[in-house]
Structure formats: structure tokens, C-alpha cells
């Protein structure tokens, strides 16, 4: 089954009315007719309409979206799955929400940076037009501010890692206030600082917001060892990091060794799935109903192994978010390619996009 959006929080009354009328429309639903009038009225799946697309620095663009139903809201730092139709095909990607949840006009925004050779980000940055419909998936993510802002905050971001933090900064500036916040942000060059003007303005307006911009093309990369000079009290702060994998790995190691690891929150845009340094021995996947054996080298998700062997596999986001690719594993050992944890399966349902085979695995498909 194809990936779907979130079920909108329609009122129980409306839901009950639609369910009561459903038998008149079977096998369709009243929704199927209502959406002829306005596609945002569907109670099956949350949709949104693109309101504006504003170019940002560094090859990014902010896409402002009017969500169809009373938007469930998000906590600053969370991400949303966005379904976009490009040349007839639905694509789904998860993007950090960059809008403050407190926006008066009720719009939400994401700010993708154009990835060369990508499909969705070039489309959103260059071709998306106002009025276009998008599908909205679940709001997810635990990269969020603490309930009580008891201590100072430290943000370490690089490149488009600024996006979840932007939502936090906007939320703080609108509401609780930017009281004791240090933000170390890296970008390759001056022109590539997404939200550069807004960050500068925030710094000017808020005493308690200290921005330290690092232009890596000129000054070299930021290393955790510099923390002692740039933010001497970093150990005392609730810290949030978002950026490339190497930066996050280095920061995690630094906090584990010199600080308190639980104080460092981080957000990875790409789960670590497979790759060259993949662990394990790999294996083969046997698809029972198709009667196909697929070779599954180390680091290869079962989904990819199946597709390479010509099996029509259910797939969704391909990064373990949406649960569209789930299949029952009859038996065998599988490896979680993000954590490298190996487990033994007996008729359990797993996400084939983030699990590889360890030896012979039998899949019910």
C-alpha cells in the first residue's frame, strides 16, 4: 500500500455523520464526493495548500503551507512527512518544521535546501507554486525544547541543520523569550547562511541571544574542543545539535567524554542506513509467495534486495519513518541497519527499508 498522510482530527460529530452516511456511498465514502468540492475537506488524510514559496539564502526556500484541518500543531524542533506529487508520482520526505507553532496566520512552513540530483527538494525550491496541494503526514520527532526552561540553551548547528532550531528560536522569540541562548552555526560561506538576516535581527533585538557564525570555507570547521573558549559553560547548558553526521558524532563523543551526555540532544536528518562500512555478513532473502531468492549484501535493506531481484515491494519513505514497507518475517535473523542490532524473527512484522538480512531470511510476500 502506498504511503498515506495523517488522519485529520475531524470533530467526532462530523466523523459520526460521515460514518452514518457511508452505506449510501459504498464502496466509496462521502469524503470521496466532498473532496470534489474542496480537496482539503477530506477526513481521511490531512492535506495542505501551498500558500507561498519564499527563496532563502544558500539554495533553500521556505514553503508556507495552509493545513487543511485544524492543524494538530507541533512542538518546535519536530518534523513532518510531506507528500508531494511530482510528474504524477507521490513522493514523501520528512522535513523539519521551521515555523513557530504560535504563528498568527496559522501557516506552517518547511525550508528544504536544494540537493543536487535529488527529486523532492529541487521541486519544492524551484517549481512548487501557490495553490498546489500537498499531503501532510504525522508530526514526529523528540528533538524538542524541555518543558521547563530552567537552564541556558546551547545550539550547535551546521548547514540546513538550522531548520529545526529556527522553529525553536522563533517560538522562543515570540513567547517565552530568548534569555540565555548561545548559538554556534556553521555555513560554508556568508551567502549560504539560511535565515541569515533573521538570525542577525534576532541577535540585535534580544540581549540574551548570542550568535556565533562560523564560515567554514574561511575559518575551517568547528570542532568540539573549541567549546571551552566559545561557550565556557557548555556543560551547564541544555544543548541541541543538528547538522552533518560527522559533526554530530564528534559532539556526541565530546559530551560523553567531557560532559553529561543526556544534556545533548541531537537530530539526524538521515538515519544511518547501511553504507560502505556496513557491519554483518549479509545473507539472502526468500520471498515465499513470489518464490524468489534475493541476495542481500551487508548494509543492504531487505527492501532494496527485493527490488533488485525484481520483486514489487511495498515502499514508502525508505528511511524507517512511515511504516508503509512493513512485511512479516517468517523466520531468520535481521539486522537493524541504523543501530546494528541483530534480532531473531518469527512471524514478526518489520520495516524492510531499515533492516538487512543476517543469513537466510524468509519473508511473507
Amino acid at each position: 500500500m502506498a504511503e498515506t498522510g495523517m488522519r485529520p482530527p475531524a470533530s467526532p460529530l462530523r466523523r459520526r455523520a460521515l460514518r452514518a452516511l457511508r452505506w449510501l456511498f459504498t464502496p466509496l465514502r462521502p469524503d470521496d464526493y466532498l473532496e470534489l468540492i474542496n480537496p482539503l475537506w477530506s477526513t481521511r488524510e490531512l492535506r495542505g495548500r501551498v500558500e507561498r514559496v519564499e527563496p532563502e539564502r544558500g539554495g533553500a526556500a521556505t514553503v508556507l503551507i495552509r493545513p487543511g484541518y485544524d492543524w494538530v500543531g507541533h512542538r518546535p524542533g519536530q518534523y513532518v512527512r510531506l507528500g508531494v506529487v511530482i510528474d504524477g508520482v507521490h513522493h514523501w520526505r520528512a522535513y523539519s518544521l521551521t515555523s513557530s507553532p504560535d504563528r498568527a496566520d496559522g501557516l506552517i512552513s518547511v525550508t528544504p535546501k536544494k540537493v543536487d540530483g535529488g527529486v523532492v527538494s529541487p521541486y519544492l525550491v524551484e517549481q512548487a507554486r501557490p495553490g498546489e496541494l500537498v499531503r501532510l503526514g504525522e508530526v514526529e520527532g523528540s528533538f524538542t525544547l524541555p518543558d521547563r526552561l530552567g537552564r541556558g540553551l546551547l545550539f550547535v548547528t551546521a548547514g540546513s541543520g538550522i531548520t529545526p532550531v529556527m522553529s525553536m528560536l522563533r517560538h522562543l522569540a515570540d513567547g517565552p523569550g530568548l534569555h540565555d541562548v548561545v548559538h554556534i552555526h556553521s555555513a560554508r560561506d556568508e551567502d549560504g547562511v539560511i535565515f541569515g538576516d533573521e538570525l542577525a535581527a534576532l541577535e540585535k533585538q534580544h540581549e540574551g541571544f548570542r550568535l556565533q557564525l562560523r564560515i567554514t570555507g574561511r575559518d575551517g570547521r568547528f570542532t568540539p574542543a573549541e567549546l571551552d573558549t566559545r561557550c565556557p559553560d557548555w556543560r551547564e547548558r541544555e544543548s541541541y545539535a543538528c547538522g552533518p553526521g560527522e559533526l554530530l558524532d564528534a559532539l556526541q563523543a565530546h559530551w560523553t567524554e567531557h560532559g553529561t551526555a543526556v544534556r545533548l540532544h541531537h537530530e539526524r536528518f538521515q538515519p544511518i542506513v547501511g553504507g560502505d562500512g556496513a557491519e554483518g555478513a549479509g545473507g539472502t532473502v526468500h520471498f515465499t509467495h513470489r518464490n524468489v531468492d534475493a541476495d542481500c549484501p551487508p548494509g543492504t535493506p531487505i527492501l532494496v534486495a527485493g527490488e533488485d531481484a525484481g520483486v514489487a515491494m511495498p515502499f514508502g519513505c525508505r528511511v524507517g519513518v512511515c511504516h508503509t514497507c512493513v512485511l512479516p518475517i517468517r523466520e531468520g535473523r535481521i539486522r537493524d541497519l541504523r543501530t546494528n542490532v541483530v534480532s531473531e524473527m518469527h512471524n514478526e512484522i518489520v520495516r524492510t527499508c531499515v533492516h538487512g538480512a543476517e543469513g537466510r531470511v524468509t519473508v511473507d510476500l
Partner: protein
């Protein structure tokens, strides 16, 4: 069938392999080209179906008027035909799965007919499309109740087949639903009781929903609408004398209620029956149409059937040729092809069952070209001729005997065909 009449006895292994490569290439070219244009097409057809269905239901609110009844029934029949043929059949084949759209996907779709999507996908997509026209394997060959091929052994029960073919025509959707059960396998004890029970539950669930909607729900909605309009026009259904008489007897309120109910029965009852008849008629029209188009797909004189021996060790090329010569097209206008779910391109559909139906017209010349170059027949003809030979076969084979009809020779190009016609 003697080896000389075998439709592709003249092709050697290498030629068959080359032919398979050519057919694969057509498939891959279309697959790579699918995009926004195709999405607009299917979304457009779906929107059209829903608009016509709404129009039909609205017209039938006034189903006591002859004009509204006729127009409403017509809309409903067309909507049901579109929904079953161009949308349901093709979506359930997975032709639109490439869009990754959860609302138009073979795994989520259900259609406005008696068989469940899951059972139909098994009996049609899998059994029929894999074992096309293989005697004893393809259960669509005669649908287990008809002698449609002279190789099938005669039985006195077949004497009645012209009659029950008419019944099947009128109630085709129920025939298909029961066919999905695979009676033969049940009788032979090859189908586990658990599966049979599962299927029966599925069919009865769909039957309940379909009957409730067409024969209770919408007639009721029409009846209520008619009564409401009647009460607006004439709030008091009694004569003044009657009102006074009721009041004098001290049953003013009771008399009023009784009179209102009598009026509802009179006005609403008639409308209920009229809408009921409209729904029934629309279903019959859809059934007759579907039966006709589908029977023309494999049963005209032109098509070949295969023994199980002939397809042993079949290559991919052999599979393609079997699909090619086992199916027959119907010529017609674009509107005809839309209403037949593009099954007028049955040959192309059988070669590429998962290709969006809207592309069949486009690739038909390429398929014909392959037929011409490889010396293969390309079965096609107008609806009247195809339907005529189908029903002639059903009549003839009701009686013992019967010989395979002479088959068309290799396709020689449009010009030759036009001259012949």
C-alpha cells in the same frame, strides 16, 4: 490441434526470444514515460464518474417523472460502467500503482460490484492472466458453466447454456462473485473450508452493502425527498370537510397524523419503487455491457486455446504469443474504448496487464507491427461481429460436437484489412 495449426509453430527459439525482447521494450518505454499526463487522465476519469453518479442520484430524487427517471437511470448506468471498467478493473490490475497514490492503488481500491477486490484479484489477475486460454487451467474459459471451446467434452446440461447465458448476462456481477469462489476446487475438495468460508463472508458482506445501497438506501432517500416536496406544496393532505369531521369526532391530531402518513405512503411509496426500478435497471445495463465486452475478449472465433501440453516449458516469448493470439480486440471510437475500460484493446491488455489502459491505443500500432513482422495474427473486429461469433459459439456448442473454427492468418497490415473489409 495439429502442430501445423499451432499459431507460432513457424517461430524458432531465437525468434521467440527476440520477440520477447521487443515486447519488453514496448513495456519499458511506456513505463519510463508515465507521468503527470497519465495522472491527470485517471484523476479526470474518476472525477467524471463521481460527477455523473451525483447527477444520477439527484435526478432520481424525482424518479416519479418519466424524464428524470430515464435520465437518472442513464447517468447511473454510465457511472457504474465507468467505475467498473475503466477505473475499477484497471486500478485493481495495479495499472496506477506507480503513482504511489494511496487513494488510487490496487491494495486499497474497492469497486461498485458484487465481488470483493481481493477475490477478484486472485481469480482474474492471477489465475486468468497467468493461464490465459489454457484449457483446464484458465477458469474464465467458459466460467465453469459453459462449453465455449469444442475441446471441452459435451454434457446434456450444456443444452441449457443459451438460456443461462442470458441470465448470466443480466446478473453478471453475481456470476463473477460466485465464480471467484472457485466452485470446481471446492467440489474437488482442493480448497480449504477456511478459505471458502472467508470468501463467502466477503461476498455476503459486499452483497449486503450493494443491496442496502441500491435497493434500500437511495430509494428511501428519493422517497423522503419526494414526500418533503409534497408537504411543502400541500401541507394539509385532507379536504376541509374531512378536517372538520375529524375535529368533531375529537381526533384532530390523530387524524392529521394518519392523513400525513397516508400521503407519505402514497407519494413516497411510488418514488421508492421508481428509484428501486431505476437502480435495478442501471445494474442490469452495466451487467449486460460488462458481459458483452468481456466475452468478446477471448471467445470470438479468431482466438486460440491451448492444451496444457502445448504450454509446458513455455518461454517468455511463448507467453507473449499465447496472450496475443488468445485475446481479441474490438474496434471502436475513443468513447467506446473509455466505456469498455479500454478492453477493446484486449490484446494489448493481455500483453501488458499492468500498463495504464489509456496507453493501449498508443502502443497498438507497435503490437500490430510485431505481428506483421513475425507472421502472427492480430485479432480484431467490430463489436457486432465479435459479439455475433461469441453467441454463435455458445449456441452451437450447447449441442454435441463442433469443430474449432478456422483461425485468421498472420496480420498483413492495415491496408490489407481495410481492403478485405
Amino acid at each position: 490441434m495439429s502442430p501445423t495449426t499451432h499459431p507460432f509453430a513457424h517461430l524458432n527459439e531465437a525468434q521467440l526470444a527476440e520477440l520477447a525482447r521487443e515486447f519488453d521494450a514496448i513495456h519499458d518505454r511506456v513505463r519510463a514515460d508515465l507521468g503527470e499526463r497519465d495522472r491527470r487522465y485517471i484523476k479526470g476519469v474518476i472525477r467524471l464518474h463521481r460527477q455523473i453518479a451525483v447527477a444520477g442520484r439527484v435526478l432520481l430524487l424525482g424518479s416519479r417523472s418519466k424524464v428524470a427517471w430515464t435520465a437518472g437511470t442513464g447517468c447511473l448506468a454510465v457511472a457504474k460502467i465507468l467505475e467498473n471498467m475503466e477505473i475499477g478493473h484497471n486500478v485493481l490490475h495495479g495499472q496506477w500503482d506507480w503513482m504511489n497514490d494511496p487513494a488510487i492503488h490496487s491494495s486499497t481500491w474497492d469497486w461498485d460490484t458484487a465481488s470483493t477486490a481481493a477475490a477478484w484479484k486472485h481469480s482474474h489477475n492471477y489465475i486468468h492472466h497467468t493461464y490465459t486460454n489454457i484449457r483446464g487451467k484458465d477458469k474464465d474459459l467458459g466460467y465453469e458453466i459453459m462449453r465455449i471451446d469444442p475441446h471441452q467434452r459435451w454434457h446434456p446440461a450444456y443444452l441449457a447454456q443459451p438460456l443461462y447465458n442470458l441470465l448470466l448476462m443480466a446478473f453478471f456481477e453475481w456470476g463473477v462473485a460466485v465464480h471467484d469462489l472457485d466452485i470446481e476446487a471446492i467440489r474437488a475438495g482442493k480448497k480449504p473450508l477456511k478459505d471458502v468460508w472467508h470468501d463467502i463472508k466477503g461476498i455476503s458482506g459486499k452483497a449486503r452493502d450493494q443491496i442496502l445501497k441500491d435497493y434500500v438506501g437511495w430509494p428511501l432517500v428519493s422517497a423522503l425527498a419526494a414526500t418533503a416536496v409534497g408537504r411543502l406544496r400541500q401541507p394539509e393532505p385532507r379536504s376541509r370537510r374531512r378536517v372538520l369531521a375529524d375535529r368533531a369526532r375529537g381526533r384532530g391530531v390523530r387524524g392529521a397524523i394518519r392523513a400525513q402518513l397516508a400521503a407519505v405512503r402514497k407519494e413516497g411509496g411510488g418514488t421508492f419503487a421508481a428509484t428501486f426500478r431505476a437502480d435495478f435497471t442501471a445494474n442490469i445495463i452495466r451487467n449486460v455491457w460488462a458481459h458483452s465486452i468481456i466475452f468478446c475478449g477471448h471467445f470470438p472465433d479468431q482466438t486460440y486455446t491451448f492444451s496444457q501440453d502445448e504450454v509446458r516449458d513455455e518461454t517468455r516469448g511463448g507467453w507473449y504469443v499465447r496472450q496475443l493470439v488468445g485475446a481479441a480486440n474490438i474496434t471502436g471510437s475513443p468513447l467506446f474504448h473509455l466505456l469498455s475500460g479500454n478492453l477493446g484493446y484486449q490484446v494489448e491488455h493481455h500483453l501488458f496487464p499492468d500498463m495504464p489502459s489509456s496507453r493501449y491505443a498508443e502502443i497498438a500500432p507497435q503490437v500490430r507491427d510485431i505481428c506483421r513482422r513475425y507472421g502472427l495474427p492480430y485479432n480484431t473486429g467490430p463489436l457486432s461481429r465479435q459479439l455475433g461469433t461469441v453467441h454463435r459459439t455458445i449456441l452451437r456448442l450447447a449441442f454435441p460436437g463442433g469443430k474449432p473454427r478456422p483461425k485468421p492468418g498472420p496480420y498483413r497490415g492495415d491496408e490489407v484489412e481495410h481492403r478485405a473489409a
